[in-house]
Every structure is written in C-alpha cells, then in structure tokens.
Symmetry: C2
Amino acid sequence: MARIALDASGGDHAPVEPVAGALEAAQNLPESCEIVLVGSRAEIESELAKHGPTPSRISIVDAPQKIAMDEKPLTAIRSKRKSSIVVGLDLQKSGEVEAFVSAGNTGAVMAASTLSLGLHNGVRRPAIATVLPTMRQHVLLLDAGANVDCSPKELVGFAQLGAVFARDVFERPDPVVGLLNIGEEAEKGNAATKEAHGLFTDNQHFAFAGNVEGGDVLTGSCDVVVCDGFVGNIVLKLLESVGRTFTAMFRKSLDAKVLESGEMRGIFKFLDYSSYGGAPLLGVRGVTIICHGKSSSKAIANALRVALRSVDVCLSQHIHDEFVENGVVA
Amino acid sequence: MARIALDASGGDHAPVEPVAGALEAAQNLPESCEIVLVGSRAEIESELAKHGPTPSRISIVDAPQKIAMDEKPLTAIRSKRKSSIVVGLDLQKSGEVEAFVSAGNTGAVMAASTLSLGLHNGVRRPAIATVLPTMRQHVLLLDAGANVDCSPKELVGFAQLGAVFARDVFERPDPVVGLLNIGEEAEKGNAATKEAHGLFTDNQHFAFAGNVEGGDVLTGSCDVVVCDGFVGNIVLKLLESVGRTFTAMFRKSLDAKVLESGEMRGIFKFLDYSSYGGAPLLGVRGVTIICHGKSSSKAIANALRVALRSVDVCLSQHIHDEFVENGVVA
C-alpha cells in the first residue's frame, strides 16, 4: 500500500485541477494506492461534491493556509505552517504518506522538501529532474531549475541522481549520461563543464557518453542529460513554448479534417510538454514530485503515477544506497 | 558598390553549396553587389563550369589552403596563411572587400576576424548574433556561442551590439532588449544575470524589457534577447534540432497531400532554422557573417544578403558610434 499526499491548493487552477486529477488517478492507479488531498477541507469537499460519490481511497487533511505562486519561498514556509505545502511534507516526514505531489510555488516546495525531509548523505544539492519525450525514448534532463552556478562536483551528483532514476523508473539497467555542453570535445565549454568533463570521465558510477550539444537533447541518444539548473530551466521552458507555438501555428494553418486526424492528435500530444507533468525533486529523503503551475487534471494524474512508481521501486532508498554505500565522487 | 568575399572552401558541402549560393545571390541581389569567391581556384572554376557562363560580378581569389571544421582555430589560422578564411579576411582588412561570409570552422572565423579586423573601441568581446523567427516578428538572440562565462558588463555590451543591429537591419528605431533568465523578478537568476539586471536597468543606451524566460524567446515580445554564449548556443542548437525532429515526425505521420499543401510548406519553412543562415559576428571592425556548417546554397545566398544589408546600412560604423561616441557602460 502506498499513500500519496496531493497539494489541493497548489497551482494556477487549484483546487479544480488537483481534485479532478486525484479522481482521474483513482480510476487508473492500483487499488492499493491511497490519495490524501491536502488543503482547505471546505474547498476540497465542495469541489469533490461536483463529481459525485468520492472513492474511499481519497481522503482529506485540512491545511487552511495557502502559499501564493509568487511568494518568497523561505518566508512563506516559515510563516505559513498550516499551508498545504508544509502540512503535506510534514505528513511525509512523519510517515503518514510516502510521497508529496504539488503544482504550487516551486521554490516553496523545494525549500520545504529540503528542510522537512532533509537530503540523503552525500547529496550536495537536490535537482529537479524532467522527463522529456524524444523520437526514440524518454530522456531525463536535470537540473531543470533547482540550482544555478553549479560546481563541477554538483554536476556529478546530478548525474548520479539521474542514473538511479533511469534505472528505477525508465527500467534501463545501464543508463548513459551526457553532459550538456557547446561542443563535443573535452576542452569545449565553460569553466564548470570543462572541469566536470574530467570528473565525469573518471567516475565509476555511470556510463558517460561525453559532451552532448543542444541538438542532441531530443535525439534520445542518452538516457540522462546533465546541466546547471539555469540552462536546464531555459531549455525546459523553451521546449514548452515551442510546443505551444507550433500547436497554435498548426491550428491556424491546417484544416479541421487534418487537425482531427489521429496522426495530428499524436503530434499535438507529443508537443504538449506540460502534460508530461511530474518532475521529481531528486536527492531529498523521500519522494517529492513538482508539477507545472498550469497543470491540468491529466498532468496531475500523471504526476501521481510518477509518485507511486517512485515509491514502489524504492527510488529514495536506491539514491541513499548510491551515495552512501557506493561512495561519492568528492 | 559593395564587394563581399565568400569562403568557397568553408562548410560541410564546400565548394558545391557556396558556389551555388553565390550564383543564386547573383540572380537576386542588386547589380552593384560583387561577390568574390575565395578558395582553391581550380576547384571553384570546375564547380562554376557546371552552371554555365559565370556572371561577371562573380570573381575568384585563390586561397589554396583549407582549414578543416575540427581544427584548433588559433593554430589553424596561424599556420595556414593561405587558407580561404585568412585570405578572405585579409581582403576585407585591406579594403578590397567590405564583408566576409563563411560556413567554415566557426572558431577560426571568429579568431581570424578578431585578429585581422580588430574590435571597435569599447567592445570587450564580439558576439555571434542569430536571427530567430517567432510568431510575431524576428528576434535577435546573442551571444549564440562566441563567448562563455560572460561578465555582467559583457552582457551589457551584447545588448548594445544587438540594439544597433535591430535598428539598422530590423529597421526598428527603438528596439527592446530582454535578458534571458530563469524568472522575471530582478533577484532571480545566476550570479551574472542578477548583477546584469541592475546594469541593464541603469543603462541609457537601449530600452530594457526586464528578464525574459526560455518560454519568451519565441513569442517575439522583445527585439533582442541577450545571454551568455553557452546558453545561447544550446538554445540555438536545440531549436534547430526541434525543427528537424518535428519535420521528420510530420513527414512520417501525415499523408502526402497534406505534406504538399501550401500551409505545411510554410510550416516546414518556419521550422528550417538552418535556412535563416547568416549570423553576424558583431563588434569587429567590419562585417563577418557566420553560416552553419551544413548550409545549403539557399542559406549561403541568404547570408550574402545579410552581409550586403550590413554594409549598405553602415552597421559597423554605427557600432563604432554606439560604443565610442555614446560612451560605454563600464
């Protein structure tokens, strides 16, 4: 049995989309998975009522305070102890749930996760890992925005985190890691990636594909692509906007019959990066899944699925093992 | 009258595509524009012969040596003084041509341009500026890969260079500059962009739109987007690959009739980032246009058009004026 807390007050469309997402997940996830909606009880109950009888595996924990999307993370989590983010992570800390999913203020979710759950020994900084679709297979990009100005050693840590995720969740026993850079040769790049290249080459923890360029991210040639969170966040947001831009362009240019074809629907689905939802915050002692603020119920349901999968495969334990038992590149 | 030197030995498809591009440009550019093909005379003559009589405004300057795409730039330009890159830039230095266009080794073209032409006073580092299509209008992204680990002051310099280009070439008298970052607020970003935000805000040279995110690059909300060359190069190569990936996906998924429609052709044209070809190296005393190594004749012809336009509007003189007469943020 797995219990997952879902932030019902988080995101641009709360509580509507989180509640609908929980109900969608309840239809599709195994019976043993329970979902705890965390937020204003009155609001959640009123929203649930619109959907008819609530499945027994969905419960509510009241968290009357809300952290707005633009609030300063540290101030917010310190002053709002009864917010859905703080309460939801406290539930995980105390063992009442095994995972927390939120489309709320990303900075607050990261800070509260780090403070409440703590980091695994040997993890210098946690990383937001994003799953991107490619023509061949999914690829994991990290860090997608948790950290900037990362040191070469921190980049190695991201690679280790990503490799564990790829083994557990992608089920690829020998994941290959690429270092995002601006040239294939070892001596190319900025100060951090040049030094990181040497550390990646010498590491004993994962297979290193060498430097990969911006044009290689979507080819699916690697299982994991590592970068500083500044670059990763720009890459991720650019891809999301490309999807939106092209979708708008097609809708404007192509006629209805083509737009409604199965092929075109497939393309639109591929382009809808926000629907891939559910970016794990890797490195914390537990499972935190961060969703886009604009998440639809479908994206929330997908994030719940990622959370359940992370719990089922013991992702957090394996990250602990990777850093503590196998030693850290330091 | 403008004379433009074109590197006939540069790029993955030399001399075929450069020669064809010169002929294409000769059909479309004003009569007063002369094109000087620089490279192995024998190879160029043999290639030209395939196309019938050569227009009188195309001439040849022999440069028997070639710099390969993967040679180390500084070593190559020092040891190969009779290479097309060195000879072509020397022609510009001596005033025999006013611009140089190359699809060859980018590092070698940058280094030779900087050494041969020099930088305008006040320019700390030159920048590769790339024109990107958006849903609204073209946007200039710089630096797209000439420099990494840029200081905040260097980012200000890129903004000034970009603003002059936007005035001269885009014909937008009051260009708006955005700083590529991972959040809209002034305090967001890495160390360089946080400090740059203050310098951009205080500057008297260009209108500052504030921070823009990865998702704003293609919306066309700014005329110029400024970033470190590490980030810019990854953005550019990612966009090129997205274009290729999506084009391949459509060709696989849609039926022939749709693929051949005018609308779909328009979309493919939009997605073909390599055809926008012709990225000016801004900041050097003169005009250097850098093309993608994979440039087609169409991309080369387009780059020749950008070169001619840069000469006609006195872009280099205006950059001089911007930095010397108007003073530099320093």
